[in-house]
């Protein structure tokens, strides 16, 4: 797959390349070059199948990674395109015109990560959540545990003890 990368590199400015398996590689693509690269891959390189489109929140580094996973069935290989976009005011150009099914992914990303895809069909409509006003819940800083503790009651009667602390209490309470 490195061969493909070298070819593409002559056409597009590409970032980091990682070969995960013989048939699966990931490559980082500057945001503005994604679209021409996708079209090239789809129409000329055989990557006709959009396997998935999803995001990874690198909260600490302050960016979202969008992963566009493409599949070339004839050559039996997959290429994941990584696009890093800033977390603040995250916006990305949609690809629903290249793969109509991408609209669903984009709508989900809008809702779950708060990444906007202007012009994507129904992108601002609720997809999974209903009446959700809080932080997009798939962001790393959304605390699921806190959410569940604020919204659900624990059944009373549960209590646990830490074995080491319990042994200290019972066997050597006075010692350091």
């Amino acid at each position: 797959m490195r061969e493909l990368y070298e070819q593409l590199k002559r056409l597009f400015p590409l970032g980091e390349y990682a070969e995960q398996r013989r048939d699966l590689s990931f490559v980082t693509v500057p945001q503005e070059h994604l679209r021409p690269l996708l079209i090239h891959l789809r129409d000329r390189a055989g990557f006709t199948h959009l396997v998935l489109l999803t995001a990874v929140d690198w909260l600490e580094e302050g960016f979202f990674q969008l992963t566009y996973l493409l599949n070339d069935r004839a050559a039996k290989r997959d290429l994941g395109l990584r696009v890093l976009i800033p977390r603040d005011g995250a916006t990305m150009e949609g690809i629903h015109d290249l793969w109509p099914t991408a609209a669903t992914y984009q709508r989900e990303l809008r809702e779950m990560f708060g990444i906007d895809f202007p012009g994507s069909p129904r992108v601002n409509e609720e997809f999974i959540l209903e009446g959700w006003t809080g932080m997009p819940p798939y962001r790393r800083d959304f605390d699921t545990k806190k959410f569940s503790e604020e919204n659900f009651n624990h059944r009373p009667g549960r209590a646990t003890k830490d074995p080491a602390k319990h042994m200290k209490e019972k066997l050597y309470p006075d010692e350091a």
Binding site: R155, A164, L171
Partner: protein, 598 residues
């Protein structure tokens, strides 16, 4: 449209004459499969309450709760898992990870109750109808979620080590240590058993994280001699390690050593931190063994001025003059001691209290005293011939070897005793013989049979590898002498060592007698203390219990300003001495801060 497409659906009617496939009475006719994951069972006698089941449960369905009739003891927290079936998802990870294999599942899956709280119970404690179910999921033998085999420790082979006193155990590499640290399940049962209550799971976690600074800080919280303990500790912790039930215990001792080995001495101070501001109080420590050093370390950290008085030419006590170099190299001992001294502790060597300086003088010059003079008098078997000059005490010989003296070392030697000290002298003699004669001629005999010998298992194995002949289960009757020479000794078969009350009262079969030849006999059957340095009036104020000074939980004797610890209080053991020294330091600090009167 084919005619077949119209007729073919009528084949459905053939089922009119078929028996129903439904099970009439699933409650009774439909037991779960043999590996069915149904309600939990727990063998509470086997369970050690380590809480690993609780840790792995992704539903938070398990609580560790105290149970009537099961109390906390070494290797058992006394807690047992209680399962909330409102949360359990029957994944059986708790069964897979269970350290003792006590937790299993029955194939019972039917239970109706109107009380929702009934579905929260402690398996094995709250009786349930499936407790005796023969079938149900158990962890298959080969299915392991935690590695059961200890990472191999590289050691010198017998041939390489017998000719020298080079350290046998090589220590783990960073990678090996991480792998071994990975085996810990962090239950913390070991902490209660460790006399110093070291934060074992935490410093093992520090190894996993590669954070040796955190690891060293954790070590020094409770133990100022990590290089020593990392080599020669009796590691009671490993005997209660949860992993030992279905695998090798975690090599806690080697991991401790690994942390200390990884950090150079010159970084210790920056990592462990400086002492507190000086209090102006002065404490004298008599004896620079583990207890004395430990007390001195913690007292110095608390800001007190500490001076240690030591009779021998170097600090370390039994760690230096008892334990052979191949088990504890002097440079490693020196590293630990150097850091204690670096805190400003004053060390006065070659000064025997009671002889070179009177205890009363110390009393006048210092606000409090800590005595930890150890057990340096050998005990004799007192059999005929035991008073012969070629009959030696093991600790005398070991001390002289450390001091660099030439000791009497014939080609054939007899060692009497089955503890670690006996092993030390046997293996030391073996090395000296190897140098002198090119072969080993040591026979070691002891009352105990091999399975109950007090020595560590690895000592027994390694001494055999080095050519020492072990004859466990024999007691001496007399030592044969010829003028100024010893020619051998006679032994009879020992039938039992203790009586039914557990008191030392060996019984012998005199018909089974053996003769062992040897030009020297070394007795190594225990040590006694020498408290002659205590003035008589003081001695009278001190309450003794079974020959040892009686102390409170801060190791204060009946005399308010006099604290005692180490072997003279607790018997021979490094880690106990360290723990005593620490506890005494806390007590002395409190005593001094309260004005030093009560």
């Amino acid at each position: 449209m084919k005619i077949r497409d119209l007729l073919s659906p009528f084949t459905v009617w053939k089922n009119l004459f078929r028996d129903p496939v439904t099970i009439d009475d699933p409650v009774r006719q439909r037991p779960g499969a043999p590996r069915y994951r149904g309600f939990h069972k727990n063998d509470v006698k086997k369970c050690i309450g380590c809480g690993t089941c609780e840790t792995i449960c992704q539903n938070g369905a398990i609580d560790m709760v105290p149970v009537d009739g099961i109390s906390a003891k070494d290797g058992d927290s006394g807690l047992r898992p209680r399962i909330d079936y409102g949360r359990c998802c029957w994944c059986a990870l708790c069964v897979d990870v269970c350290m003792t294999k006590s937790l299993t599942m029955s194939n019972d899956y039917q239970w109706i109750d109107r009380d929702p709280d009934a579905f929260r119970f402690t398996p094995g404690v709250d009786r349930k109808k499936w407790d005796d179910a023969a079938l149900g999921y158990q962890r298959p033998d080969d299915h392991r979620l935690t590695p059961e085999e200890r990472v191999h420790m590289k050691e010198l082979g017998p041939d390489a080590r017998i000719g020298s006193f080079i350290e046998i155990v090589k220590g783990y590499s960073v990678e090996e240590a991480r792998k071994e640290a990975d085996r810990c399940v962090a239950c913390g049962l070991c902490t209660a058993t460790c006399p110093a209550h070291m934060a074992i799971p935490d410093y093992i976690a520090a190894i996993r994280d590669g954070d040796y600074e955190r690891g060293l800080r954790l070590l020094y919280d409770t133990n100022p001699l990590p290089e020593v303990c990392g080599r020669v500790c009796t590691h009671k912790c490993e005997s209660v390690c949860a992993v030992r039930h279905e695998g090798d215990p975690v090599a806690i001792r080697w991991l401790k050593r690994h942390i200390a080995d990884q950090v150079p001495l010159d970084q210790y101070r920056a990592i462990v931190g400086a002492t507190e501001p000086a209090t102006g109080k002065k404490v004298a420590v008599v004896g620079a063994g583990p207890a004395g050093l430990s007390a001195a370390y913690y007292l110095a950290r608390m800001g007190h001025a500490v001076e240690i008085f030591e009779a021998l030419p170097a600090a370390g006590g039994m760690m230096r003059y008892g334990i052979p170099e191949y088990r504890l190299p002097y440079d490693q001992l020196d590293k630990d001691i150097a850091f204690v001294m670096g805190l400003g502790v004053k060390l006065t060597l070659n000064t025997r209290v009671g002889k070179d300086i009177a205890l009363d003088d110390l009393r006048k010059r210092f606000d409090a005293l800590f005595i930890s003079t150890g057990l340096h008098l050998g005990r004799s078997t007192k059999v005929p011939g035991a008073d012969h000059p070629k009959v030696f005490q093991s600790i005398d010989l070991l001390r002289r070897v450390t001091l660099g003296e030439e000791i009497f070392c014939p080609g054939e030697a007899i060692v009497i005793g089955g503890g670690n000290v006996a092993m030390d002298i046997a293996r030391t003699l073996a090395r000296l013989q190897m140098r002198k004669y090119g072969k080993v001629g040591v026979t070691l005999l002891c009352l105990e049979t091999e399975d109950v010998m007090p020595a560590d298992r690895e000592e027994i194995i390694e001494s055999r590898e080095e050519g020492v002949i072990l004859r466990p289960g024999y007691g001496p009757t007399h030592i044969e002498t010829d003028g100024d020479r010893v020619t051998g000794a006679r032994f009879v078969r020992c039938l039992s060592v203790f009586d039914e009350n557990g008191r030392f009262a060996p019984r012998f079969d005199t018909a089974d007698e053996i003769a062992i030849s040897g030009a020297m006999v070394v007795e190594s059957i225990g040590q006694g203390m020498d408290l002659s340095y205590l003035p008589d009036d003081l001695k009278n104020q001190i309450v003794f219990e079974r020959g040892r000074p009686k102390v409170d939980r801060h190791f204060r004797t009946s005399v308010p300003w006099l604290y005692a610890g180490g072997d003279i209080v607790q018997g021979p053991d490094v880690i106990h001495g360290i723990a005593n020294g620490h506890a005494a330091a806390v007590g002395i600090d409190r005593y001094l801060r309260e004005g030093g009167t009560t």
